[in-house]
Symmetry: C2
Subunit: 145 residues, 2 copies
């Protein structure tokens, strides 16, 4: 889902990230809104129930405009920034994962430390993920409701 505010660069990175997540065994979900009102650019869940969150930064301006990424750490086991090739990577915090992506694919340059979700939070995030993904899939076949 590409919303009106998303730049072509961010859309390309999102597409590549989704492909990478699938390759890694994670079902991807874009624009995943949490109960806090914050929105994960791309979330993923694998067969073990592990949850990844990816925050896309299309440019330095984009990165500087919003540095609330720590809010996401409570909702995932691993957190990555994803940026285009030309992004100045040395501004990014070193304690997170790092993905470089374009529209065709993506690559992990630095893995994320794992910080396992507590069971109750994992259960809640998984349920929310299931409901948002199902509504998204349904909208694609019946936009009337």
């Amino acid at each position: 889902i590409v919303d009106g505010r998303q730049s072509p660069t961010a859309a390309a990175v999102q597409r590549g990230v989704c492909r990478l997540l699938i390759h890694m065994g994670f079902a991807p979900l874009t624009e995943f809104s949490l109960k806090t009102g914050r929105r994960i650019d791309v979330a993923g869940i694998n067969a073990k129930g592990e949850i990844i969150a990816v925050e896309i930064k299309s440019s330095l301006t984009d990165f500087r405009a919003d540095q609330k990424w720590e809010d996401y750490l409570d909702f995932c086991d691993r957190f990555f920034f994803a940026v285009p090739m030309e992004f100045p990577r040395d501004v990014l915090p070193e304690e997170t994962g790092l993905i470089v992506a374009d529209q065709f694919g993506a690559e992990i340059l630095r893995d994320s430390p794992e910080d396992r979700l507590p069971a109750a939070r994992r259960k809640a995030v998984t349920l929310l993920f299931a409901r948002v993904a199902a509504r998204r899939a349904h909208l694609a076949i019946d936009s009337g409701v």
Copy 2:
């Protein structure tokens, strides 16, 4: 998702059932394949994590060809048959829920008894639902992978 084997009547019932589920607070997922190889015509999950399964029967022939509905009971809290208006409803088992539907909507004629899933099974079904729904939503925006 309407596959090649689905009749226009079944597709209409599926559409109406999805709308009913949304109205009831359940995010709907069509053609939900379980690990057993069986496929739930429409599954739904609500904000409490309750899981509904709906088996569509478009005609008496369709009903007589496959009566394995009891297999689904282990994967949901409530089970319904969904049929078109003209379906001879008295052939259906009385111990399940019953929905009548067309392409515009649906109505519950008989509620289903509730048979709560064990926690471990609920967790597994919710995770599978999340992954299938996310892959479905992703296919709608990027069919290349």
